[in-house]
Amino acid sequence: MNDKNIERHTIALLVDNEPGVLARVIGLFSGRGYNIESLTVAETDPYEKLSRITVVTTGTPMVIEQIKAQLDRLVPVHKVSDLTMVGPHVERELALVKVAGTGEKRVESLRIADIFRAKVIDSTIGSFVFEITGSTEKIDAFIKLMEPLGLIEVSRTGVVAIARGDKGL
């Protein structure tokens, strides 16, 4: 493993939605010392009982190859697709961001939310909960701006991704 270029890859997996499958995937990453930047999972095919897992990981090209080969070896894994390699794809994250404040700060947070097209989904006299979707960078930027304005709490989904064009996984 002499290659030092660390790359970030988004990998989509189609797996049987059965007990333990997530533990297998996570256990593989922890057991072999791979990184997980984010991981999302939900059932996407209720008829075939398949879930889709999206993992964002980092590593040298050789390690990324290993990760894919190791994932593919898991018995309940049907398909492994490296979206970063496959080509153009879109990535989105959703975050819920709670900000508390009054006066000018409260107004400012609302103004920034507007620029980022974040929605207010809960509001009290002294707080907002914003819902924002977008790329990881956009969400990072939004949260950074909220910090001085009374950022209380953040909940993020992690990345979901899909390839562009008319082909499926």
């Binding site: 007990p19 333990g20 290993q66 018995v75």
Partner: protein, 590 residues
């Protein structure tokens, strides 16, 4: 699979046995307990499956490994919940590392008690997830038969491995429907056996142009079945190329063939390791570039183009970058390569090859395995050589424990055929050899089965002598007794200034008396003069024998590539060690 659910007439335990029978199982290695009593009850009422009662569950897994590796069939283990299941973890890990097909049936508390810290409950699927190829917890009787068949498919196809099926007691008692193996197909797990023809062509091109070629072959050849060894032997002979084998691959190519360079790796031969280092085309067949083989990665075979044939895509480009990756089953791939080689009328570069052989012959002339035997104290190498000479004309199977004796066995016992050599390679599990020999003997009742053992290792599963006695298995334990954990002592001598911390076993048992206490025959050889007689008596005795061979305490196993060193930095003997101190980098390696 048809959707109509067949009627459930039999208990889960009966369905289980029926499924095992339909999978061709004739023997299981097990140990009873509360959670699996329904299975034991069903076993009692049938006679198509034989049960071998081991003395500890760890022994059951190694026995099943020995059975599997010597037959190519799946080995089956049956244990109870909790401690029964946890005792299998070492064996399962061993089978995973060495790609041995095992089905391990574990009892579990009834489904409604799972998660309640019930008596003898353990999270077996959680514990065994990283040490199995796959595992199942059966929670629904209607899935029981399907899961068993699927488990067998997973265990034996692709790169084989251990599979655990965790069976809650209510599932074993409740009625369950049966489905036959033919009705079960797995949706996602169907490993590729035929390789991409383009890759085959690239490989043939490279092989035909090679000037300093080398075949480097491992356990994958043996796992692919006897046909793979035949094809390998045929192809190596067609090309006239040199061939080396890994510890796991011994027997895949006949050791007596002049094209064989001996074993490669940490304790491999000088010629094999230097050929690895100096070759220009390496043809890796069912071998996984393990660290015991490659030595220092950055200096590993620096000038070669590498072809890698493996059924497991994750083995390819894991440690070493290869030029021609070929994913497929060894026998299938070799068949395709040979066919193309013939079709294209390929010929190796004769002139280059004879220069390469001249170089190899110079390396061979170093006689790296040479040792000096005086006329009194038995050298361990000599003991193995004599064992080989006196058993080679018989139908012999060898297992080993782990340590120096294992390496000497690999160096000095010559294997002509696959499935004759069972050793714990990937995990290096002391205590493997005796129960493994037991499993081999069950599969081959009339064969000569010998565990080449160290006195420390064999004590780790010595209780299995009791099983061996019960079933009148004429297993031979051939102990190279150096009173030390020799391999530990060797590392301490070479790397830790000769400070022999805890590597000497004081108060060893008297192995002859121990044998007798277990209803076995005990023999002992103390001198060179006694050795042959003891070996002969051991072979002739139609009962289990423990032969205590008192060998030189201080002998070290050479050649040796110290951790972190390259192939061309190997130590040939004791004189070499001072000249080449181990690097700091190497000291942290295992």
């Amino acid at each position: 699979m048809s959707n109509a659910i067949p009627p459930a007439e039999q208990s889960g335990a009966e369905v289980l046995l029926r499924a095992l029978k339909d999978q061709g199982v004739d023997v299981i290695f097990g140990y009873p307990g509360g959670a699996v009593l329904p299975i034991y009850d069903a076993l009692y009422q049938q006679n198509s499956i034989r049960h071998i009662l081991v003395r500890q569950e760890g022994g059951a897994v190694h026995a099943a490994e020995g059975y599997a590796r010597s037959t190519g069939k799946v080995g089956v283990v049956l244990v109870t919940s909790g401690p029964g299941a946890t005792n299998t973890v070492t064996g399962l890990t061993d089978a995973l590392m060495d790609s041995v097909p095992i089905i391990c049936l574990t009892g579990q508390v009834p489904t409604h008690l799972i998660g309640n810290d019930a008596f003898q409950e353990a999270d077996t699927t959680g514990i065994t997830r990283p040490c199995t190829k796959h595992n199942y917890l059966v929670k629904d009787s209607s899935q029981l038969a399907r899961i068993i068949h699927e488990a067998f498919h997973v265990a034996r196809s692709g790169r084989p491995g251990p599979v655990v099926i965790d069976l809650p007691k209510d599932i074993l008692i409740n009625k369950a429907p049966y489905v036959a193996p033919e009705e079960v197909r797995h949706k996602s797990y169907n490993p590729r056996v035929k390789a991409d023809p383009d890759r085959i062509a690239e490989a043939v091109d490279l092989i035909a142009k090679a000037k300093r070629p080398l075949f480097y072959c491992g356990g994958g050849v043996i796992n692919s079945g006897p046909r793979a060894s035949e094809l390998l032997t045929q192809f190596v002979r067609m090309t006239g190329f040199p061939c080396t084998l890994t510890l796991m691959g011994l027997g895949a190519f006949p050791a007596s063939d002049p094209l064989f360079l001996g074993m490669v790796g940490m304790h491999g031969t000088y010629e094999a390791n230097l050929a690895m280092h100096g070759c220009d085309v390496m043809i890796a067949v069912g071998a996984r570039f393990d660290d015991r083989v490659t030595g220092k990665l950055s200096a590993f075979s620096p000038n070669s183009k590498k072809i890698h044939i493996d059924i497991d895509p994750s083995s390819i480009n894991k440690n070493v970058h290869v030029n021609v990756p070929i994913v497929g089953d060894v026998a299938h791939v070799l068949e395709d390569i040979i066919a193309l080689w013939k079709r294209r009328n390929c010929k190796p570069d004769g002139k280059a090859l004879s220069e390469w052989w001249a170089q190899i012959d110079q390396w061979r002339a170093r006689e790296c395995l040479k040792y000096r035997q005086d006329d009194k104290i038995i050298k361990p190498q000599y003991a193995i050589q004599r064992l080989y000479e006196l058993t080679k004309d018989r139908d012999t199977y060898i297992t080993t424990e782990v340590g120096q004796h294992q390496m000497w066995a690999a160096q000095f016992y010559k294997f002509e055929k696959p499935n004759r050599w069972m050793t714990s390679g990937g995990l290096g599990t002391m205590g493997y050899g005796l129960p493994a020999a037991m499993g081999v003997q069950i599969a081959h009742p009339d064969a000569l089965v010998i565990d080449i053992a160290g006195e420390a290792s064999i004590l780790m599963n010595i209780q299995e002598l009791s099983t061996i006695a019960q079933y009148r298995l004429p297993v031979k334990a051939f102990i190279l007794n150096n009173q030390y954990m020799g391999m530990v002592r060797q590392w301490q001598e070479l790397l830790h200034g000769g400070r022999y911390s805890e590597s000497y076993t004081a108060a060893l048992p008297d192995f002859v008396k121990l044998a007798e206490a277990f209803h076995c025959v005990g023999l002992r050889a103390r001198t060179v003069a006694e050795l042959d007689d003891v070996i002969k008596e051991m072979i002739e005795t139609d009962r289990p024998v423990v032969a205590d061979i008192v060998v030189d305490e201080k002998e070290n196993c050479f050649p040796m590539i110290p951790s972190g060193a390259a192939h061309n930095e190997m130590l040939l003997g004791p004189e070499d060690k001072a000249a080449k101190p181990t690097s700091e980098e190497g000291m942290v390696l295992v």
